[in-house]
Symmetry: C2
Amino acid sequence: MNSVDHPTSEARASRVTIVDIARHVGVSKSTVSLVLAGSLLVHGETRRKVRQAIEELGYVYNRGAASLRSSHSSILGMVINDLANPFFTELAIGIERACQESDFIPFIANTGENIERQAQVIRSMREHGAAGLVICPAVHSDPGEIAALTEGLPVAFAMRRLEGGRGSVVVPDNRAGARAAVRHLIGLGHRRIAFFGGLPGMIVGEERVAGYRDALQDAGIAFEPSFVIEGLPTRDGGRAFVRMSLKLKKPPTAALCFSDVVAIGAIHALRDAGRVVGKDFAIIGFDDIDEAKHMSPALTSVAVDGRGLGETAARLLMQQIRSGHYADEVQIGDALLVIRASCGGAQKSGSVK
Amino acid sequence: MNSVDHPTSEARASRVTIVDIARHVGVSKSTVSLVLAGSLLVHGETRRKVRQAIEELGYVYNRGAASLRSSHSSILGMVINDLANPFFTELAIGIERACQESDFIPFIANTGENIERQAQVIRSMREHGAAGLVICPAVHSDPGEIAALTEGLPVAFAMRRLEGGRGSVVVPDNRAGARAAVRHLIGLGHRRIAFFGGLPGMIVGEERVAGYRDALQDAGIAFEPSFVIEGLPTRDGGRAFVRMSLKLKKPPTAALCFSDVVAIGAIHALRDAGRVVGKDFAIIGFDDIDEAKHMSPALTSVAVDGRGLGETAARLLMQQIRSGHYADEVQIGDALLVIRASCGGAQKSGSVK
DNA sequence: CTGAAAGCGCTTACAG
DNA sequence: CTGAAAGCGCTTACAG
């Protein structure tokens, strides 16, 4: 440890403030404040001198002090269920990008699907002055608890919504996407089609299962409850779902997975069981993460624009913050089937609405 | 748009403060402040009453106001070069985790390797009261500019360091990792080994090239400058490096790539060129991102613990913040070769120091 | 153990 | 166009 003893507090103590600028230029601090706010009231020459002094003295604007006085903050909090999942990373990137565009700066928290941590970070973000929250709630979140934690704060939900929650909502068209995927499997001749992943109470999963059932019904195929295998949408989940489904007396020949992450786990388990994916068993994922196209076989998936959803959610939130009014607008994004090798049949890849 | 007209500002205006708590309990605000700070000076019964009032009135601590007065903040800024790269996502996750452990809350910014954006977000984070910065600097960052932007602020560099920069540094042992990788290729019989990616001025790349040269020298193989192909370490870069190397009069038979992302691009280009990776051409990546093991062929890679590096960097930074003293400790993490199918030869996978 | 006073760095009416 | 004054919600000596 070769730490050097420059006390950083020294630098902090000598912080130059608006008063120093005022003194240096020979005006009042009100005038400096006006210049900082970009007011046109101030005389051009005065403005110039103030700006120059700011430059010379190395002044750093203290937004914390400004927020305290004005009670406006340009900090937004993003609360993400699982940053290690590439889909949610994209969501986070979108939120961050929208912030940069609008001169907001985001707090970030990864809850890891843990609702205690989620409650804690929401409290922390409030205390630290977040003006609003973009939330992708952890599995098993209690809508009432979230409502209480965010009381008085604008919120926007991205990708996952809560039953009866207040706030803007930006989600993909899960039902239509799932329906298109299953329709495709049926078109390839499959009749015994499973759905892997998702938990009761997860609206995303329920919507996808609804689309799955729509497609079956469209084709006159009876719904088989044992083909819907619920569980945490993780890689390990995917492995487990395959093992369970292969134990059925009449196993499925294809599956729509809750997510690409689940599909990856499923493909591994199928391989372990000696099945050739795309030939013996068709797999379709959901999300179309970057990895999907690089897998072997390449994964057919329902593409969701995570980055776009994140951007939109952040924009809707910032709109609420700026307007000073809550909103509960719902925006539905696309969910488009991208056909690759993992469901066989298709030689060329393509995209289907 | 079905926005409801609840003015959020109303909720904000009615914010309950320390004074409300004091009045409700019948003590002074100093006493309440002491309770909030967890002081044992305050009488147990008084403490209890204050806590109860806090609960009842739904008080939210205003850390912004506290910071203004005390000039201590528990906000840390993380400035990441490319969040879409899974390796740096892991780094970010590690930083965030360390923050949660220590009751810090992180700002996040994705610079996308853009140095203008980087300068902007650093300024923004300062203005918003970040007490210190974990930086993974964008390619082409100017050490002098970064030093100026962060003057007076504690900083820690993760994964990438800057020439002559002040601050803590946490990086993997790039040289040893690269050396082990190339030694492995030599052991498999390769003599014409390339290095793909990295730019002049990127210390990470220079260190990895140094390790590459070490291994060649150890084996008495002459260094061939045309085998070191520099460029941006992206997927597209990887494709380009392969195309360039195959045009050489005597092309290489193996390559160590700057990163897994580069390796993925390289593998695609090799496939396009009709080469069988792991047989006609050996590829080793760097980072060992999650995807590496799921590729086909599975990618041999030098494993770097991104999450761990992030955690350590954040901890060193928080230590500086809390102590009030700068530090420039350097910590070197492991870089271990993980052998898989992409370099052929190995039937079973293993790990080599 | 508790309270009164000052002050952190800003903004915001209000005068002039 | 510019300045003096008050105040945002806290903490921090300083008394008692």
